[in-house]
Amino acid sequence: MQTEKFGTKLTIEKSGDMIYFSQLDLASILTRALRRAGLALYYTQGFNPRVKMSFGRALKLGIEGTEEVTIYFTEKISPEGLKQKLLPQMPQGLRII
């Protein structure tokens, strides 16, 4: 049973071709990147466990810009540490700043 959760906040910049991907796509791109990075993810409870994350204000489709997201883990991880692990897993056009 996972009990404690630790949130780490990131700012993500959408540019280039990635502007055509929706908020839903972004959540799935991030989830898979986090899974590939092999991080200690915190999953939501219930029948369909998901990686827990919460987004700030979503960007419109087709617009460049930045957006905040808080991702939850079962252990503490600094924004810098997370950035380092996640960066190699991000597609071109999605930058962590």
């Binding site: 071709d17 929706s22 799935s28 989830t31 898979r32 899974r35 489709l61 087709g62 597609p91």
Partner: protein, 550 residues
């Protein structure tokens, strides 16, 4: 440039997915491959991914992908004289040396022409000077003989090495085709003349060294064969949004109506350890949250319980969903289904095909339906939400009793389990190479009556949801899968009439068939002693040892 904000789902055209491969074309053989349907459908096809990965293993091949654009983008491309381009390097299709298609779905025939046209490629094989259009995954290639230069019959894993070797050795299109036609599995329609006389299709070689009769080629050692481990991971949702991990190919059963069983002969399994390694590596490379164990009959896999144990212990904590595409009823009795509870599986799917025992026996379907009732208690305890059943109608020798049996069976099952039942009823199509390829397709008006009878007997049953295939669509599928070379003309006419719009309108096909002076019934009612596909005779493992190139 195209303003992708003007089209629906621009994600389809961007590419740039995790593990997509971009190579410079300089000094390489550029090949584009396609599943001729929309991105989200095509990307769900395993065959395309296998071939994409295998081609790109060759250092001197640059393999890219293209899918059918939506009608909106197709119109923009055609209206602005922009050629359809590959996803990877956005190269116009006519700049490739070869464009390949997976034609496993007959109803995509016209889509093939749409893609060629949009890509600036002449539609007919005879009109193309350099570029080779090749295709595979199709049981009966004849209706597309006019458009495709080169078919591969069977599993392309065995032919891809020879294909690349030949492309290296020869630069001229005709030289390439000649050389390939001499190799097992490759079929060049223009090298054969087909005529009809004394009630038979006759096949004559125009290029004498070409293979005849042709054999379908299969991978002998599935366990050691290539699997795409660097899994192409889309950034957007696709139809089957999970990683299919093939556990076996072919099927040990002999259902009379089944085409897949015949064209993926013989039955072969991968080892548990191989499957485990594949699943683990793909997860590491893709981060995909769902894995599905792929085979025609997953529960026939000889070590299914061992396999599930291994996979469940690997993936449980990672919250990766595992699923099996179909199960036998016997599995509800075994501990197998208990294991599946770990796998987020919320429905039980049973391919029953016929509701009456007698008809099922004729189909060679070895299922004891009564077990479903015996196991009703177990089924109840599994916390399932629904039971999904697959049935078929339109079989030869099918009686009214067989049809009425559907309603009584479903009712009994519903009452016994208390679950809601989704039943999907398909129409029997006598597919080439199936054991029943010689049977007649049920006529349209009779099919309509049968459907009326089934639906009538199921009226107002709560918790039983029925969906039935459209008769016209099934008839079209039958024609396209069974037709001969004459039918290329019809496909061309339908393409000319539909533009980039829908191709499933029966009226379009009917008009085109009439204009070509054809009677489609000859394809549905075994009018000749043999078939348009009779030049393909049996199958064999590839004899050549060094066919892996590189």
């Amino acid at each position: 440039m195209i303003d992708f904000r003007l089209v629906q789902k621009p994600q389809r055209y961007i590419g740039n997915e995790i593990n997509s491969i971009k190579k410079s074309h300089h000094g390489k053989i550029p090949i584009c491959i396609s599943y001729p349907d929309l991105y989200e459908i095509g990307m769900s096809n395993l065959g395309l991914r296998l071939i994409y990965g295998m081609f790109n293993e060759f250092e001197d091949v640059a393999c890219e992908r293209v899918f059918l654009p939506g009608e909106d983008l197709a119109k923009i491309l055609a209206g602005n004289n922009i050629k359809l381009f590959s996803l990877e390097t956005k190269t116009a299709l006519d700049s490739f040396e070869a464009v390949g298609f997976n034609l496993s779905c007959e109803l995509n025939s016209v889509n093939l022409l749409k893609i060629l046209k949009l890509g600036g490629i002449p539609l007919k094989a005879s009109e193309r000077k350099e570029l080779i259009v090749f295709a595979g995954g199709i049981a009966n290639p004849e209706p597309l003989a006019e458009f495709v230069d080169l078919f591969y019959l069977g599993e392309f894993e065995e032919g891809i090495g020879k294909f690349v070797e030949t492309f290296r050795k020869y630069k001229d299109k005709n030289e390439r085709l000649k050389a390939l036609s001499e190799i097992d599995g490759f079929y060049v329609p223009q090298f054969y003349n087909v005529s009809i006389s004394s009630n038979r299709y006759n096949f004559d070689r125009l290029y004498k060294p070409a293979q005849f009769p042709l054999k379908r080629i299969y991978v002998e050692n599935l366990d050691k064969s290539y699997y795409p481990l660097n899994w192409l991971t889309p950034h957007t949702q696709i139809i089957h949004d999970r990683v299919p991990v093939e556990i076996a190919r072919g099927c040990p059963n002999s259902c009379t109506f089944c085409q897949a069983r015949s064209i993926y002969k013989p039955y072969r399994e991968k080892k548990v350890s191989t499957i485990y390694n594949i699943a683990k590596t793909i997860y590491k490379n893709s981060g995909y949250e769902n894995i599905s164990l792929l085979s025609l009959s997953a529960s026939d896999y000889s070590k299914i319980e061992e396999l599930l144990d291994v996979l469940i212990s690997e993936f449980k904590d990672k919250r990766v969903g595992l699923s099996l595409p179909s199960l036998r009823i016997d599995d509800t009795l075994s501990s197998l289904y208990r294991k599946l509870l770990f796998l987020k599986k919320t429905s039980l799917t049973v391919a029953l095909e016929a509701a009456s025992d007698g008809l099922r026996e004729k189909l060679g379907k070895k299922i004891d339906a009564n077990k479903l009732f015996e196991t009703a208690k177990i089924i109840k305890s599994l916390n399932l939400r629904t039971i999904k059943l697959y049935l078929m109608i339109g079989f030869p020798e099918e009686t009214e009793e067989d049809l009425f049996a559907i309603a009584s069976f479903l009712e009994k099952l519903q009452i016994n389990t208390g679950l809601s039942i989704n039943v999907s009823i398909n129409i029997f199509v006598p597919k080439p190479f199936s054991l029943w390829e010689t049977k007649w397709m049920c006529r349209e008006e009779i099919l309509e009556e049968k459907i009326k009878l089934v639906l009538g007997s199921l009226k107002r049953r709560r918790n039983i949801n029925v969906s039935i295939s459209q008769t016209k669509r099934s008839i079209l599928e039958a024609i396209l899968s069974r037709a001969d070379r004459n039918f290329s003309r019809v496909i061309m006419k339908v393409f000319e009439a539909c533009g980039y719009g829908t191709t499933e309108d029966w009226q379009l096909w009917q008009t085109a068939i009439k204009e070509c002076g054809l009677d489609y019934k000859i394809y549905l009612e075994s009018s000749y002693e043999n078939f348009p596909w009779s030049f393909i005779d049996g199958c064999k493992a590839s004899a050549s040892q060094n066919n892996r190139g590189n």
